[in-house]
Symmetry: C2
Amino acid sequence: MDFSQVLKNRRSIRDFQDKDVPINLVHEIIEESCLAPSSMNGQPWSFIMINNRDLIKKLSDESKKNILSKIAKNPDYPLKRYEGVLKVEAFNVFYNAPCVVLITGPRAMQSSVVDCTLLASYFMLCAAAKGLGTCWIGLGAHIQDPKIKKEIGLPDDQVIIAPLSLGYPTKIPEALKRMPPKILKIVE
Amino acid sequence: MDFSQVLKNRRSIRDFQDKDVPINLVHEIIEESCLAPSSMNGQPWSFIMINNRDLIKKLSDESKKNILSKIAKNPDYPLKRYEGVLKVEAFNVFYNAPCVVLITGPRAMQSSVVDCTLLASYFMLCAAAKGLGTCWIGLGAHIQDPKIKKEIGLPDDQVIIAPLSLGYPTKIPEALKRMPPKILKIVE
């Protein structure tokens, strides 16, 4: 697919067809995404692939519970604006995507967030180039229960940096209008 | 250009032709990059475009000085491994690129780093699609002198997240071999 078309097709998708994503396709997207740059070529990213709707629902419930608990303890918690929807039992933070990929990085590595975010950006574009839709689900990163961490193979020294939903979109919406770029200064 | 070709052509470039980058082309790349996703569509990124070799040299010198001072105060500082090269007067952290674009974000916004990194990833790919080369220069972010901050139009409430060099590459090197992706778990 033409690069500029991929840029336009990469939209945050929150409505998926009822169709599974073949696991070898997820592997392919991950392989391609690894062309992303990383600090000192460290490639510190790891992957958890979840192609199981029951487990995805469990992750959503766990993350909702933990965010609500953080909001209860701290009314200034940045995710407070989501309090209402997080209390809706039927709300799945992953928007019922058939597949979720968690990109994780070493907790102790300073460049983890930047490196794994670069990887995630590549992942979302590579998926779009194959006709798939993704969304970075910040609300899905709050996994604390040791049993669930074990179930998804997340060791204590790794953190979830990019929780990405993945599936076939029902449609690709038009890009939201972007603000004109804020140019602070041009020096020629 | 085909998407998969852009993925392959996006390499960290550290050797540039002696040829300026037209400022309208930098504008175009920035406009396209703004198709990047951001947390709650906040688009918190701002841009400083520097197409002036003297100022780029000044930024390099300022950043080197500040990193060396941090290393002197803290021998465990992560950039200590660069101490030797940072002491070489002729070493320019931007590898003598004709243009530098600083992507900045609000200091107080939690999602700044992730959002501006997603933007930077788009920027590097969009530049590659136009035959230009980039490199994320972590060593170029350490700008502290208030006079220099004023000269580049960087307000105190903004931080430099992605310092990117930009120019026409002398050649596009082959991609370094990537490690096989670390898959922590697949749940089907």
